[in-house]
Structures are given as structure tokens and as C-alpha cells.
Symmetry: C2
Subunit: 369 residues, 2 copies
Amino acid sequence: MNVRGTPMRTIWLEPDGAVGIIDQTRLPHEFVTARLGTLAESAHAISAMLVRGAPLIGATAAYGVALAMRAQASDEALDAACRSLLATRPTAVNLRWALEEMRALLQGLPPAERAAAAYRRAGEIAEEDVAINRAIGRHGLDLIAAAWQRAGKRRPVELLTHCNAGWLAAVDWGTALAPIYAAHDQGIPVHVWVDETRPRNQGASLTAWELGQHGVPHTVIVDNAGGHLMQHSRVDLCIVGTDRTTARGDVANKIGTYLKALAAHDNRVPFYVALPSPTIDWSIEDGVRDIPIEQRDAAEVIEIAGRLPEGGIARVRLMPDGSPAANYAFDVTPARLVTGLITERGVCAASRDGLLSLFPERRQLMAGE
Amino acid sequence: MNVRGTPMRTIWLEPDGAVGIIDQTRLPHEFVTARLGTLAESAHAISAMLVRGAPLIGATAAYGVALAMRAQASDEALDAACRSLLATRPTAVNLRWALEEMRALLQGLPPAERAAAAYRRAGEIAEEDVAINRAIGRHGLDLIAAAWQRAGKRRPVELLTHCNAGWLAAVDWGTALAPIYAAHDQGIPVHVWVDETRPRNQGASLTAWELGQHGVPHTVIVDNAGGHLMQHSRVDLCIVGTDRTTARGDVANKIGTYLKALAAHDNRVPFYVALPSPTIDWSIEDGVRDIPIEQRDAAEVIEIAGRLPEGGIARVRLMPDGSPAANYAFDVTPARLVTGLITERGVCAASRDGLLSLFPERRQLMAGE
């Protein structure tokens, strides 16, 4: 998508074999890129959230393995690379997927061939992500076009999204925002209510930034506001992303997604979840019971970073000394609250049958489990 | 309640006739009091939220009328005082109530007697509020004691609250927090999940501060987290306040309350609203349809104030330049999501019949409407 009018991606290969990324911790106040030259830098980029979002984490991890192989291509080095990358974000299922892809490919090759093969496969993983998200955009576009029809084409389609599941969370296009970019690029007028998304404020910082850079009309609201807007028919459609989807369509996404799904359900607002199929965890059904919820540093709740009036970034403390805070990173939205799942193969019901209708090859695998 | 171990109130009369308040915009980082010597200072204290919370706004407005009468006790001055105070917070129903009380009393008196009578009535309004909230605490205490019984007295009762409906929002005790203080003071172990409460962060700043000062165990969470906690049985009881309650029990409270009520309902967690009866607006039924929702300055969403690491308070910008924000102050929680209303006369169902069972004198008035 566009940055300052120029198309960009979130991750790219530099001519010298290093990996270029956008340092997303500096957004929205500064646009800064970073170079990853080593496995350690790649792991740090994931754990410190210079890159975030399930698909981009997967691509970064794949390139991290390539950087590790470039330095040292032994079996031990491959094991160590996969282990350290996997430990960066335990909830991210397609981090695991990307690492399994890399390991499966590389362990069958002699060490001398591993670096080149790893770069090639990491590049393919990035391209596959772009293709997947472009397809998600195409399928989700139909839902937005239908909402525009229902609105009599007399006003913009009002969308609500939570967190950042845009192109900054992927290699390009994004998941939840891909349909919105596709609609905007096709001339369907849209307006996006952007949940601020505490803590870390990925909505107010990243989603607002990328929508603004691409020219998509939007308004930032606090996470508390979406229910009120839905009560007053100000939202036609919710679209969010997911970090992990169970085989029956429960979705783990940024904390607070569940609350928006409840409000959408209570007000009969369609609530869609956009996801690339690698984020489906076919091995579990009940997300509330079985998805472990990462707890992150309480400092993300206690303090916040922003730009000072005179310029420069500062962290300020929001709470009294002595009051503790807890920081749950995700919650699980049960499938019963999800109107549909938007995947690269099309839109389906958030259910086992719905998912299997799009991914019939899983039917046999699951029966065999 | 206690501040640094000493009992305090939020508003008091100084020996010279000025009115003392806690400047709540300086909390939680600084504890500073302010003197209101004029009508204009009182109106500013309300509109700039040096004082906030329905009952405290009412008491401050009553004292504001007294300060106006002290300066000039004509009919015109009384009209002007009521008008300017009413304009400070249009949604606050007991601001209106307090001003009507003052006007009804004062317009029947000769100007020479108005100042003294206004001070006396303002003092009574403050004392009545303390009595009301003490009674709310006593009635709500029974609910917490019952939850402790249900927990087998083996662990603290887990409560969740939104915004600040504590003693800082009242003259003393508070509304939603009064039962919690009553339980704590009686030795029932409690732990409070405190919603940060964006924008303005009254939970993270004020509720955390006052619970901490009084020694009540608590943990601050982002507004997004409550649903997750309820899904995992980490909340026994929600108690929130309200700025306005309709005759059938719909409640307008700080934006986001509705989302917590939905989560409580979805997880069968009791959801109680504590309110002094002056905040009941007997003239309306359907809160979603009929309660106008104040929109405040978008700067409250775009920027946030906090304490710098080196000390001192700074406002930082959270969003990219050029992205707009909207700031809805309240939302309405329909009565169907409210387990019960805790009033100074007892606990009742959130319904017309429930409210009339506690306030039977309204039955005749409403029939006559």
C-alpha cells in the first residue's frame, strides 16, 4: 500500500542479503526503516514488536532462519534458530507454521545449500502472503459492495475495526483491511471507525497511519465507543483480524475483540473475521478453553508513549505509584458471535462445516486424528 | 475516605465562605486542593472537570449558587447563576436537580436572605449525598457478602468497575465503590479490577488512586480486558455508577459501560448499577433513544497526560497528524443487561416495577403524567 504516495511493503530483501523492515515501534510519529542482519536481530524485531501481526511475524521468522543459515548452516544452528524464534511470541500460530516450513525444507538439504534455499523459501512465504491477502481483499470486497448496495449507494459504508490487521501486520494488503483497501481502490466510498486498541494502541497509531497514508477516510475512537456507535446504527460491518482460529471458528485476537463481537451481535451488525488459512489451528476446537492467553509486561498498561508538543517521543505514566496493572494480550471470540470468516478461498460460516467447505482437504486429515 | 491515612471529603466550606475542592485533574500524580471563590470559578471547576461525578457536580453547583448569591443576590443573578451552571455539563441530571432545588428555595426569599440560605442548603445537599451514599454502601455490602459466602470465604471477592464512581465522584463514599469500601472496612477481602476507562482514564487515575489511598487491593486493566476476565470466571460481580437512569432502568454511564454489561450477561456475571435516586430521570423510559450523548473535545482521545520519568506532567499525542478522532462521552446500557440497581433505599430490579417498588411515591406522579 502507499506511504507518502509510493507503494511499499513491510519486509524486503536488501541487495547485501540483510532484511529491511519498517520499525513499527516508531510509527505513527516517525517513519523509520531498520536492517536485520542476524538471527538475533530478527528475534528481537519480533519480540520487541518492531514487526507485529501474524503474517509479518511469520515472514520475519522465515527470513530470520535464512540469516541464521547464512552465518552457520549446521543442524544445531537450524535447531537453535527455530527454537529462539519460536520463543519470541508463543501465541502466534503462523510463526510456528513458518518455522516448520523452513525446518522441513532445510533439514533435508546439505548445510552448504541451506542458506540459498532458506532465502528462496522466505521470499516465497512473503509472496504467498501477498497473494493470500490480495485474495482475502477480493472476497471481502463483495461484502462491502453488498453493504453499499444496501445503503442505496447514498453514503459511505461504515466499517469498524479493532487493532491493526492492515498491511503493516502483513507483507502487503493486510487481512481485515484488505477488503477495505480493495473497496476504496475500486471507488466504493468507505469510512472506518478505528478502535484505539489499548494497550499498545495499534489502532490509533498503526491503523490510523496506514489508512491515512493510503487516503482512506477514518476516525479514531476509544475502545469503549464501538458499542454506542452500533446501538445507533453507525456501523454497517465489523472486520477484524485474528492471531489464531480454531477448527470450529473461535478466534483469538487482540484483547477487546470479544467485546466488539458482543456489541455487533446485540445490534445485528455483521461481524467478520479475516484470516489467512495458516492462522487456522486445526488441532483445537474450543478457543476459550484451549488457547493460552499471553500476558505481557504490565508497563504497557501503566505507561504510554506519544509525541511531546515540542516534538520528540516521551513515555508518560498513567497511574498512581503503587497501583498494579495486568496486561492480557488477547481474548477469544466464540464462533457463535462471528458472522463469517473471510479467507483466501472465500467467505464461510464460522463453524467446522464452514471451514471444511473451503478446506475440504482437511476433512480427511481431521477424521484421521 | 482516607487520603494518606486521614479521612477527607471532596468538597468543604472554608472559614471565609470560599469552597474547597480537590483538583481532580491533578490526580493521581499530585494531590492539590483548590479554592472556589466565585460563580465563575465554580462553573469552571465543573466544565474543566476539576470536580466530576454526578453527585459532586450537584454539590459543587449548589455551592456555586451560594457563591453567586454572596456576590449579588438579585433575581437576575440567580437566573444567570443557574443558567451558567446548567450549561457546564448538559447530560448530568442531578446538576439540574441541585439547581432546581436551589432556585425553588431562593426565589421565594428576599434577596438579603438568599446567600445564607443558599450556603445552608448547599451544605445540606452535601450531607444528604453522604447519607445517600452511605446507604448505597450498606445495601451493596449485602451483595458482596453473599458473593463471599458463595466463594466459600476462601478467596477475595473479585469485583470489576468502570470509570470512577468512587468517593472522588461524590462527597464521600461514592456510589459504585461505596459497597466495596463498606465490605473492605468490615473485613470482607475484596479485589477490584479497575477499568482504565479511556478517554480521560478516570479508572487508572482516580479509582486506582482512591482505592490505593484507602488500602483496597486492586489491579488496573485496559477497558478491553474485562470480557476475557469474565470468560475465565475471574469476576464475581460488576458494580458501576450512572449519570442518568431512566424510569425503566436503562442507565447512561461513561462510554464503554454497555460493553461490560454485554460481557457480564454473556458470562452470567451479576451486573449492578449503584445510584443515588436524584440521578433517576422519571420522565424518560428508553435510554438509547432518548438520552442525548454528549460529545466532548476530540483532543481527549488524540492526546493523553501523564507523568514523565523525570517528574512533571506532559501531554503526549497518540495519533498520526491528520487522523481525526471522535469522543462520545457516555453510552446507554439497556435495563435488560442490568441485574439490579443499588439505591439508597435498597436493591431493586432494573425495571419500572423494580424502581416503583422502592419509590412508590412516584407511582402516582407518573400515572398523572
